[in-house]
Every structure is written in structure tokens, then in C-alpha cells.
Amino acid sequence: MLAALAPVLAFARPAIDWHALAPEIILTATICIVLLVDVSTSERNRWATSSIAGIGMLAALIPILTLAVKGGPRIMFGGAYVVDDFALVLKALFLVAGYVTLLLSTNEIAEGDFWEGEYYLLVLSSVFGMTVMASARDLITIFIALEMLSIPAYLLAGWRKREVKGNEAGMKYYLMGVFATAVMLYGMSLIYGGTNSTVLAEIGRQIHGSFGKEPVAALGIVFVLVGFAFKVSAVPFHNWAPDTYEGAPIPITAFLSVASKAAGFVAILQLVFLAFLGRGDVIRPLMWILAALTMTVGNLIALRQTNIVRLFAYSSVAQAGFMLAPLAVVGSSASTTREVLQAVVGYLLIYTVVNLGAFAVIIAVGRKTKSGEISSFGGLFEYAPGLAVAMGAFLFALAGIPPLVGWFAKFQVFKALVSQGGASGITMAVVVGVNSVIALYYYANIARTMFMDAPPDGDRTPIRVPVPLLAAMGMAAAATLVVGFIPGVVAHLAEHATFALGG
């Protein structure tokens, strides 16, 4: 033991790049301030924690912009923590998604029977974990980031603690999440044992070499990826998603279905592209099966749902399938691999914005109707035309109808799949196509209810939308329309979101 510690004796102070760490430091400081405000003010003044959390997230975006302007990957701690373009784009995505979640939450949490200060504290902690995940290039760092973002999420999922449904949501999410973590860790231990390294770049080199040919390498890769398949709710590891989404407060459902899922994809992308690419022969079939199952099962069950939140839960399962699909051809050639990365990152950016917008409308309508049924959207166009049109835009964007932004996401996925030219890519493209049509059916069904049906209870009083919700909806709607006509914006971001290799 002492002999093993001997190299540590020659301790050199690690160089810390304060600029590169600024977003995380700002978030940490905000977390501390929110906690102090929470414990030192009375119940009536707790709303302040919401504003502070929002300001903190926006402030953390500033160093991300300055870092993007300065450019160049910044590699820290022996390659374990890298701030490159990929990390910056996704950190910005997490912060924006976190900020929109706060906008969605403000009224919901203040009016309901909820703890307020702790809520914002936990959302901030979870977003902090996600920003760390975007930079984590080392097994330990990935594990810590995953726990940092998951543990607050377990609590938030069970936030409606006086309701049995809320308890159930928290418990299911917790048990499945911890199980997935254990599976992932076991996979990591096998990979560490084979490569004697936890840094992804070094693991990548060894997997190209002799270690990659051993069966234990394949076992480790599958275990780690299956662990993250839980996180992104891929079938057959999706059982927790609908119940958790229904039982959690709706802003948290939006947060989980968007930010938490995106964090899972970020980890998968880092692991696949930086470490496991040498065993594409293991990853491709695994991802092919996962993607095909996830899309098909998610969509078929979504068809039968009558509750809007559950429908969105299953639709988000299906959307995860669309994002996994390009990974079915990863590593078959250098140009395909680049297109796969672009397709997944682009899809993530677009899906995040549109889904958050849809949830903003669901929350706004639910404030009036107090119902989660799809039929409660009947006649929305008559008494709230603005909301109905916005929701229609989000629905058709999710379905992938031009000129709304979603078509570009799907187009990128097809392009990546077809570019490889092999049978697996083409068949996958067919599966994606068929599933897009199924998805269109249930998205269009909601639109039909909104525009054609009469209100179920005959109540036609207009809906008053609180300002924060309106802001969230406006941002999402603007992005949905503008980017739909100028897809170059997302393409540009996704193209630049490349990894700094080596390090």
C-alpha cells in the first residue's frame, strides 16, 4: 500500500485553468448562495432562490461564450477534464435547458405544496453535474458527473411527496438508476483492469491494440453502454420512464426527458467516440438492436396513450431511438463517424428546444384544465389560439415536418445512415422512416383534438399564461421556426462540436 502511494510523494501543484473552469465555479457559488438564502430567509421570501438560480445559470453562460471566442481545446488533469468545442456546445445546451426548466417551475412550485429553496438547489446541482459530464474524459470523472446529476434528480422525481404517485415515481427512478450505475461501474472495472487506465484517450489506444481483441473488452463495453441505455430510457431498459414522468412534477418531467437524457447521450458519445471506437463490431449491432427496439416499442405504446404526459414519456423514449440510430453505423469509416457525431448532436440540440416548448404549453393548459388527458386539449384553438398554434408547431417539429426544425434533425440521421452504404445502415434508415410515420400519427392526433374537437367541459374562458412560461414558450417557438428555415445554425454548431482528440 505504501509502496503504491510512493509516486504521490513527488507532488507538483496541478496547473488550474480558471477560465476553463469558470462555468462550474459560478454554478458552485450559486448553489452555495441559494442554500444560504434558503436557510436565512422566511418561507415568504423563498421565491428569491428561483431568481438567484436563474441569474447563476445565465452568468455561467458568459464564460462559455468567451471560451468559444478564444477557441482551442483546454486539457486539464492529465486529460481527465477537457474543455473543447463539443463540451462548450453541450454545456451551453444544459445551461439553457436548466434555465428554461426554472422558467417552467417558478409558478408551479410557488403555488403548489412544495419545498421551494431545496427545489432550485437540486435543479442547480443536477445542471452542475451535466456541465461536468460534458467535459469528463475519464471513467472516474464520468462516474462522479453521472451521480452528481442523478442523485438530485431522484429527489426531484419524488418531489410531490404527499402523493403516492410522487413516491412511486421517485422510488422507481431511484431503483432503476442505481441498478444502472452498478452495471456501468462493473463494466468500468473490467475495462480498467484490462487497460490500467481510466483516461478515455488511453483506453481508446489500448482497445485498438491487443486488449481490444479479448472477450472481456467486449463485455466491459456492453456493460458500460447498457448502464447508459437506462439513463436515456432505451428499450428494454425504459420501464421506469413513463411512471416516473407521470408521477414527477411536470417541469421535472420536462427536465428529465430533455436534460437528463441529453447527459446520458453525451456520456455515450464520449465513450463511443474516444474510447470504444476500436470495437465498432461490438457497438454497431448493440446500437442497431437498441435503436430499432426503442423506436418501435416507444412509438407503438405511445399510440395507445390517453394521458398527455404519458404520451410524451413514450414519445421521448421513441425520440431516444432516433438519436441512437446513427450509432448503428459508427466507426465503419472516418467520414461516416464524423456524420454520426453531427447527426446525434444536432438531433439533441433540436429535440431539447422543441420538447421544452411542448412541455411549456402542457403546463400552461394544465393550469386551467387541471387534467392530464389528451381530450382536455379539445377546442384549445377556439379559446387560446396562440397556445394551440405554438403547440401545433412543436408537435409537427417533433414529428419532423418541414419547414419546422425537426425535419433537419431527421434529415441528418438519414444522411449519416445512408452515407455508409451498407445493408445495416439502409435497413436502419427504413426503420427510422416507418417510425417517423407512426409518430406523425399520434402527434397529429393531438393537433386534431386541439383544432377540431369541442372543449370537453364547454369552458371557453381564455387561459392566462404567466410571464415566465410565456418567455419559455416564446424562446422555444422562435428557435423552432427560425432554425427550421435556416438549418445552417444547428449544422454549424453540430459540425463544430468535435472532440479534441488525444491529450
Binding site: 472516474i140 404517485k165 452498478a182 472495472s189 483492469g193 490500467n196
Partner: protein, 105 residues
């Protein structure tokens, strides 16, 4: 330490794999939330054993550092999980995971 060098890492790795399997099967089969917790702990500790064995075999501190982190994070997770369970049991004493099926499909 002498024992470890004469036995080699294999028995430890096999024990780790067995414990992991017992934990995973237990989690899927048992329905008492507390027993499910213990199964999760079993899985995490099997992972720890594997990490420590590899760290010893490779003579590398990295594996031992991971075990530190896993231990602490596992404690945090258990605290959260017990909090959720206490919340459920306050409402319904003697609940099992099968009772939690208000929502379905």
C-alpha cells in the same frame, strides 16, 4: 498480502463476479425495498472488490481512488434511497415494490 500474491487475482475476480450476479438477480427477484437496497450494495461492493483486485495486480493507485469515490457516492445514494423509503412507509407500512403499481402501461 502474501496470500494475494500466492493466490493470484483470479479467485478475487471470480468472487466479485459471483457477488455481482447475486446482487443483480436479487434485485430483479426480491420485492422488499430494503432487500433490494442490500442487493444494490452487494453489486457496488462486488465492483469495489474487482477494482481493488485490479489495482493490486497492476500496482496502480487509480483503482483504489475509484473505490473511495464509489464508497462515498454509494453512501449518498443509500441516504437518498432510505429517505424515499421512509417517506413511503410513513404513508403505507409494509409496502413492497409490487404495491407501487398505481400507474401502469
Amino acid at each position: 498480502m502474501m496470500l494475494a500474491s500466492t493466490l493470484g487475482p483470479t479467485p478475487y475476480l471470480v468472487l466479485g463476479a459471483v457477488l455481482f450476479t447475486v446482487g443483480a438477480v436479487g434485485l430483479l427477484v426480491r420485492r422488499n425495498p430494503l432487500v433490494m437496497f442490500m442487493c444494490i450494495e452487494l453489486m457496488l461492493n462486488a465492483t469495489n472488490l474487482t477494482f481493488v483486485t485490479f489495482a493490486r495486480q497492476l500496482d496502480d493507485v487509480g483503482g483504489q481512488v475509484i473505490v473511495f469515490f464509489v464508497l462515498v457516492v454509494a453512501a449518498a445514494e443509500v441516504v437518498i434511497g432510505l429517505g424515499i423509503i421512509v417517506g413511503i412507509l410513513r404513508r403505507r407500512p409494509g409496502a413492497t415494490a409490487d404495491d407501487l403499481r398505481l400507474m401502469k402501461g
